[in-house]
Amino acid sequence: MGWYMAKRGLYAIPMMIVISFLTFILIHLSPMDPAEVVLEAQGVPQITPELIAQTKAELGMDRPFLIRYANWLIDCLQLDFGHSYVSGEPVWTLLGPAFLNTLQLTFASVIAVIALSVGLGVICALREGRLLDRSVRGVSFFLTSMPSYLLASLMIWYFAVKLDLLPTSGMASSASYVLPVVVIAVNYAGIYFRMIRSSMISQLHEDYVLYGRASGLSETTITMHMIRNSLQIAISVFCMAVPIILGSTVVVENVFAWPGLGSLSMHAILSRDFPVIQAYVLVMAVAFVLFNTVSDMVNAAMNPKLRGDL
């Protein structure tokens, strides 16, 4: 057990090195010279080759590739992601608070997604094929096909403007969480609920259920056993939901003007602010690897069968 955990944890390190390297070379995919982008972002009227060379020297871009990578990596480990091309501020002062805001939204949404999908999944599985099950599945199918930005806009229009119940945007109070969380929850619960439902249904036909019934256990007890067994599958899925939702808040953040990473990265992309984009990618990818590692560890702790292969 401890051995597996250690191995799984160590496995994340080479992954992160690969990620950092890919993030570093990402910038070279751009058809534009970074120095040119800097000058353009700063609004320099005439970009001459001398000016480009000078900027390159200032930014240390004339040094060999691997040395630049090593320097960059060391800086990143100290949370120094360079300065924004546009505002000149250090990237971390922009990214840090935004990351926390996104994280708050993500955790609130994940809790809502889990509550909604486990609740609906269990109820629908117990009522398999009946009206309730069919109507919930129908509605969720419809909602999964709905773009989240449309749902978000409609909700703003109805709840924030027509009924004037909730704030339209920003994160001023806890009420501002309601709409974005509901939009994300509705969007993802449609998928997760189907997983829970089908894993519950596959449990229905297991021998232990039959045996429990035969020995006269109450339905509630049997249901609790089934939930426990089907949640094992669900836990790995939900652990993965955290990083997926963490990055997918982009659209929702933009619609609700949530001051998080999604809004920040959009602005960075539109103004070609490379250091911010790079830092965003790195932070998200590292978070992704960390959550994956944790989710594997949780799974292994719960299910010894999974500890074998690594």
Binding site: M15, V18, I19, L22, T23, L26, I27, L29, S30, P31, F141, F142, T144, S145, M146, P147, S148, Y149, L150, S153, L154, I156, W157, V161, N187, Y188, I191, Y192, R194, M195, S198, S199, I201, S202, H205, P243, I244, L246, G247, S248, V250, V251, N254, V255, S265, M266, A268, I269, L270, R272, F274, I277, Q278, Y280, V281, M284, A285, F288, V289
Partner: protein
């Protein structure tokens, strides 16, 4: 043909197939079908309601909403399909090579795939758009580059199972060439798997690309695209909420049809799904495919 019959047995699946077919045809023949020029501005008809001449009304510049919807099929559905096809093809080539030859080739290819998959899909797509610049072509390129690895991984698993079967081993023993084994025995057998995975990713990818256009990263004005039409409607959402209706309903209708069809396709191609365990596994795979596309949408 047999498969088509199987799909049509289910009435809803038949309707879905019809909707998807109509959409594709309308997109392909857009210039002949659209009643007006989608970019022609009639300032005197701003926000006009439905009329005989303009059945779905006019937008904030007086452009015909119906024509814009029809022209929007190309970037919203057809180009997405092309991008999906391209990334599935890339994934299939890598997956076939890795799954069939195994050994060192497999190890190297899969490490590359692992590296690609260590980035969350949406972040990679966003990063590539950030580097390549805003625009529909760049989104599609970013999309192909960030999704192929995922298809490669799934196709490899499917090919590996087939490559282990006795008839493949026999073909190898009697000296049939690798290429002809692949072409005659592996590709046809794995095609249903590929079709199911690709089709279940399609609906959410349509949503995803329209999401990018909604954010202003995709197609640029004045071209019509569904996500962008919704974005334009959003600016006047409080005074004219009905403008969101036509593009919104169109997206929902088409994406539900695609999703429904992919479920039906899965059922038609794989009769094994009747047993509950296999069904659960297959459902999980399809849900994973949906999630893969869902990330940004």
């Amino acid at each position: 043909m047999n498969m088509l019959k199987q799909i049509l047995k289910d009435r809803l699946a038949g309707v879905s197939l019809f909707i998807v077919a109509i959409t594709i045809a309308a997109g392909a023949f857009a210039p002949w079908l659209a009643p007006h020029d989608p970019n022609h501005i009639h300032m005197e008809l701003r926000y006009a309601g439905p009329s005989w001449d303009f059945p779905l009304g006019n937008d904030h510049l007086g452009r015909d909403v119906l024509s814009r919807l029809i022209f929007g099929i190309r970037p919203s559905v057809l180009y997405v399909f092309a991008a999906l096809l391209a990334s599935v093809c890339m994934g299939a080539i890598v997956g076939f090579i890795a799954g069939y030859f195994r050994g060192r080739t497999d190890a190297v290819l899969m490490r590359v795939v692992d590296a690609m998959l260590s980035f969350p899909g949406y972040v990679l797509t966003l990063a590539l758009i950030g580097m390549l610049g805003v625009g529909l072509e760049n989104i599609l390129i970013a999309f192909v580059l960030s999704k192929w690895a995922w298809f490669a991984r799934i196709i490899r698993t499917s090919v590996m199972q087939i490559a282990e079967t006795d008839y493949i081993k026999y073909s190898k023993t009697i000296g049939v060439g690798h290429l002809s084994i692949m072409a005659r025995h592996i590709v046809p057998v794995s095609l249903p798997d590929i079709a199911v995975i690709a089709s279940s990713a399609f609906g959410s990818m349509v949503l995803q690309i329209s999401g990018f256009s909604f954010l202003g990263l995709g197609i640029q004005a004045p071209h019509a695209e569904w996500g962008m039409m919704l974005n334009e409607a959003r600016t006047v959402m409080f005074s004219k909420p009905e403008l969101m209706l036509a593009p919104g309903l169109t997206i929902i209708l088409v994406v539900s049809a695609i999703n429904f069809l992919s479920d039906a396709l899965q059922g038609a191609l794989d009769p094994k799904l009747m047993s509950s365990k296999a069904k659960f596994q297959a459902r999980t795979a399809v849900s994973a495919a949906r999630l893969q596309g869902k990330e940004v949408a």
